[in-house]
């Protein structure tokens, strides 16, 4: 055989939840003692899945559980799953950043992993120096970097700035340079995590092109995590679907994406209080409720395309004199952000009286209306944000609500075929004879 690049056997990875900085000395000793006698770790209980919404009985969570798969050389494999499904943990184990708790991974060939753009870049060093440093961190020898130096600079398009410290680079240049280094590594396996989320559209296209070239042209194995199904569909011939740390399926990308989109149909029309899965907390305000409302039918997850979608957003201000705005990202089923919006007067068609005013403690409700005849017949989900003046203190709840737009036929009198596009707005049209 010998054509397998990565073989994963019974792979599991446990994380300890909560605060384990204090009071663990005695437990550490207890654990050491059990391990010394060749027994299992008393604090790891096998058999719990990683479901964030139900509280487990132990404070250990299995972020990956009994994963088995083999990746053939030259395959480009997408890793698909919702937030917290274990995608990043899998990549971390494969790129040796952390060790598995149980099981093993066998790898044939050198691995280059790009879990973050520009790891180890030093702002004071020039582009040239950073190319060497970053290349070496990613496992290249100096002569190998020299060999690819011109190609890297060329790909990144930073010839003029190569002897300028990278702290003076624009963020776009920075990202381009960082990706260029990783993409030109002499490795048989390339592992890429959601790094394309940064950078402009043109550059994303260039990166995807390069990755395609790497896997198809040079026969290297690529593992790629993304929320962007379109990118995975373009790039990967096979895909892994992860859910709650379990491997749901490993098949052709088309099959997996269908499965993933259908599994997303457990949509929610309303989430309240503690059920809201908050990714990042804001210190000045908390989410209280998020719901989707149809003006005719009340709370729902299904809307007709000619119906207004109302997103209600309840939150509690915890500190007096907080200036806060509410913001929403609408995401389509391929992971593309359709639009982002907030209640600032320049971004709305009306004026929100409360925008920009210091608010006193208490509960507030903001609503956002998506006009009728605007969205296409797809599934959409919503990321909600509480944005205080200090942007670092942002409150984030990702994919908290989801809904589907259903065909009514109102726009279908002239054309009945497949309607392309992320949105399907009714627009102004006129024709004149010239």
């Amino acid at each position: 055989m010998g054509d397998i690049a990565i073989k994963v056997e019974n792979l599991s990875k446990a994380y300890q939840l909560g605060d384990f900085g204090t009071g663990t000395l005695s437990r550490d000793i207890e654990r050491k003692w059990a391990l010394l006698r060749g027994k299992e770790d008393p604090f790891l209980r096998v058999g719990e899945t990683n479901d964030r919404s139900t509280a487990g009985s132990s404070d250990v969570v299995w972020s990956l559980k009994d994963i088995n798969f083999e990746i053939k050389k030259g395959d480009a494999v997408g890793v698909i799953g919702r937030n917290g499904a274990g995608k990043s943990t899998l990549l971390k184990v494969l790129s040796r950043v952390t060790v598995p708790t149980v099981g093993s991974v066998k790898i044939m060939g050198r691995v280059a992993s790009l879990l973050e753009v520009g790891t180890g870049f030093h702002p004071e060093l020039t582009g040239r120096e950073n190319i060497f440093l970053n290349g070496a961190i990613l496992g290249m020898r100096k002569h190998e970097i020299k060999k690819h130096f011109d190609a890297i600079v060329d790909f990144a398009g930073v010839e003029r700035y190569i002897d300028t410290p990278v702290k003076r680079y624009s963020s776009g240049m920075y990202v381009r340079l960082a990706f260029a280094v990783a993409a030109h590594l002499e490795s048989e396996i390339l592992i890429v995590d959601e790094v394309l989320a940064v950078g402009d559209a043109e550059f994303q296209k260039k990166c995807l092109g390069k990755m395609g070239e790497v896997s198809k042209g040079e026969g290297r194995t690529v593992l790629f995590v993304s929320h962007n199904m379109a990118a995975i569909n373009n790039l990967c011939n096979k895909s892994l679907l992860l859910k709650h740390g379990l491997l749901q399926d490993y098949d052709d990308t088309r099959v997996i994406i269908d499965k993933y989109i259908n599994s997303g149909k457990e949509s929610q029309a309303e989430v309240l209080g503690a059920d809201i899965q908050v990714k990042k907390f804001c210190s000045r305000a908390i989410f209280c409720a998020l719901r989707l409302v149809s003006s005719k039918r009340g709370i729902t997850t299904n809307f007709a395309t000619d119906e207004e979608v109302v997103i209600e957003f309840e939150y509690e201000i915890l500190v007096d004199n907080t200036i806060l705005s509410a913001s929403i990202h609408l995401i389509d089923n391929m992971g593309t952000c359709v639009f982002s919006t907030f209640n600032g007067p320049s971004a709305t068609i009306n004026v929100d009286e409360f925008y920009g005013k210091p608010l006193v403690k208490g509960k507030y409700k903001s609503i956002c209306k998506i006009p009728p005849s605007f969205l296409n017949t797809k599934n959409y989900s919503i990321n909600a944000f509480l944005v205080p003046e200090n942007m670092d203190d942002l409150g984030i709840a990702e994919e908290v609500l989801s809904f589907s737009m259903e065909e009514t036929g109102a726009m279908r009198k002239e054309y009945t075929g497949e309607w392309w596009g992320i949105v399907r707005p009714r627009l102004y049209w006129s024709t004149e004879r010239m």
Binding site: F20, L94, S113, T119, H122, A136, I137
Partner: protein, 291 residues
């Protein structure tokens, strides 16, 4: 599990546990270019946007020597033997600073590099090694300064009739050995501390503050001979004592060569370094999950 797989050879196998004594030194060797680039990075970033640049390497030992000579020599009248006081203090200061920098910088290596360790694999030992090498370069520069001062005093004594004797002797040849041992000791202790601080952060504070106190438990501002009489307990069990005393004795002829103290330093440095490597190696694999 092994039988039903093919006979394919694997380049790498990632497993939960590994033997304690597998230190992955071959892996470290493969990444040697990274070591040099990191050392280079340390220097370039150190003097970029400073006016005096590399001169800072000289300013620190010069001022410390001047202050020590004034405070401990002139005010406190600590007996340092016949050798020139400035030379005496400078020898102690640069050697101690080398050891102390190796230890304190190594002791925060996991914390300082948590973000990079969390995103990319390379042998973690490269980081502490680069710190030791960076400090060795810094020490060499300072040692150059010491040699100049040493030369000046030597000429003054030999040809200009100065009354302060500078008597270099054959123990000067132990100098490279002493440097190596100080590096191993600093590295070893630093590795132990950094491994423990991933869980118990208090230790990091103990180190910064402890190193200041430890200097007084080492014959830096006084010769080992004055200390051995009364407080020999602490100072004899300090592995740095034998090293510093021998270093100073070799160059200035002030002090003695204590064979037992030196032998003790050699053994304890080696043991601590090995212990540090083992502990570090054990922690590095999954510290990312706990930091």
């Amino acid at each position: 599990m092994e039988q039903n797989t093919s006979h394919q050879e694997w380049d790498l196998e990632i497993k939960p546990h590994d033997t304690v004594f597998n230190l992955h030194l071959k892996d470290v060797w493969n990444y040697r270019d990274l070591l040099w680039l990191l050392v280079r990075r340390d220097f370039v970033s150190f003097y970029k946007q400073t006016i005096l640049g590399p001169l800072w390497f000289f300013i620190q030992p010069i001022f410390t020597t001047v202050v020590f000579t004034f405070v401990f020599g002139k005010l406190a009248h600590i007996e340092t033997g016949a050798a020139p006081q400035a030379l005496f203090y400078m020898a102690g200061t640069i050697a101690w600073n080398y050891f102390s920098d190796c230890l304190t910088k190594t002791s925060t290596v996991f914390r300082d590099n948590a973000s990079i360790f969390g995103k990319v694999y390379f042998p973690r030992l490269i980081m502490p090694l680069s710190i030791v090498v960076s400090n060795l370069v810094k020490f060499s520069v300072q040692f150059g300064l010491f040699v100049i001062v040493f030369g000046v005093y030597l000429v003054k004594y030999k040809f200009l009739g100065s009354k302060e004797p500078v008597l270099p002797n054959w123990y000067i040849l132990l100098f490279p050995v002493i440097m190596l041992l100080m590096a191993l000791l600093g590295l070893g202790l630093g590795l132990i501390v950094t491994a423990l601080t991933t869980k118990y952060r208090d230790l990091a504070f103990v180190v910064t503050f402890g190193m200041q106190l430890a200097m007084y438990a080492t014959p830096i501002i006084y010769p080992l001979s004055t200390a051995l009489d009364k407080y020999h307990g602490i100072i004899r069990y300090n592995p740095m004592s034998g090293l510093i005393e021998t270093f100073r004795y070799g160059f200035t002829g002030s002090g003695h060569f204590y064979a037992d103290a030196f032998a003790y330093s050699v053994v304890s440095s080696l043991v601590i370094c090995l212990l540090g490597l083992i502990v570090f190696n054990k922690v590095e694999k999954d510290f990312v999950d706990t930091v």
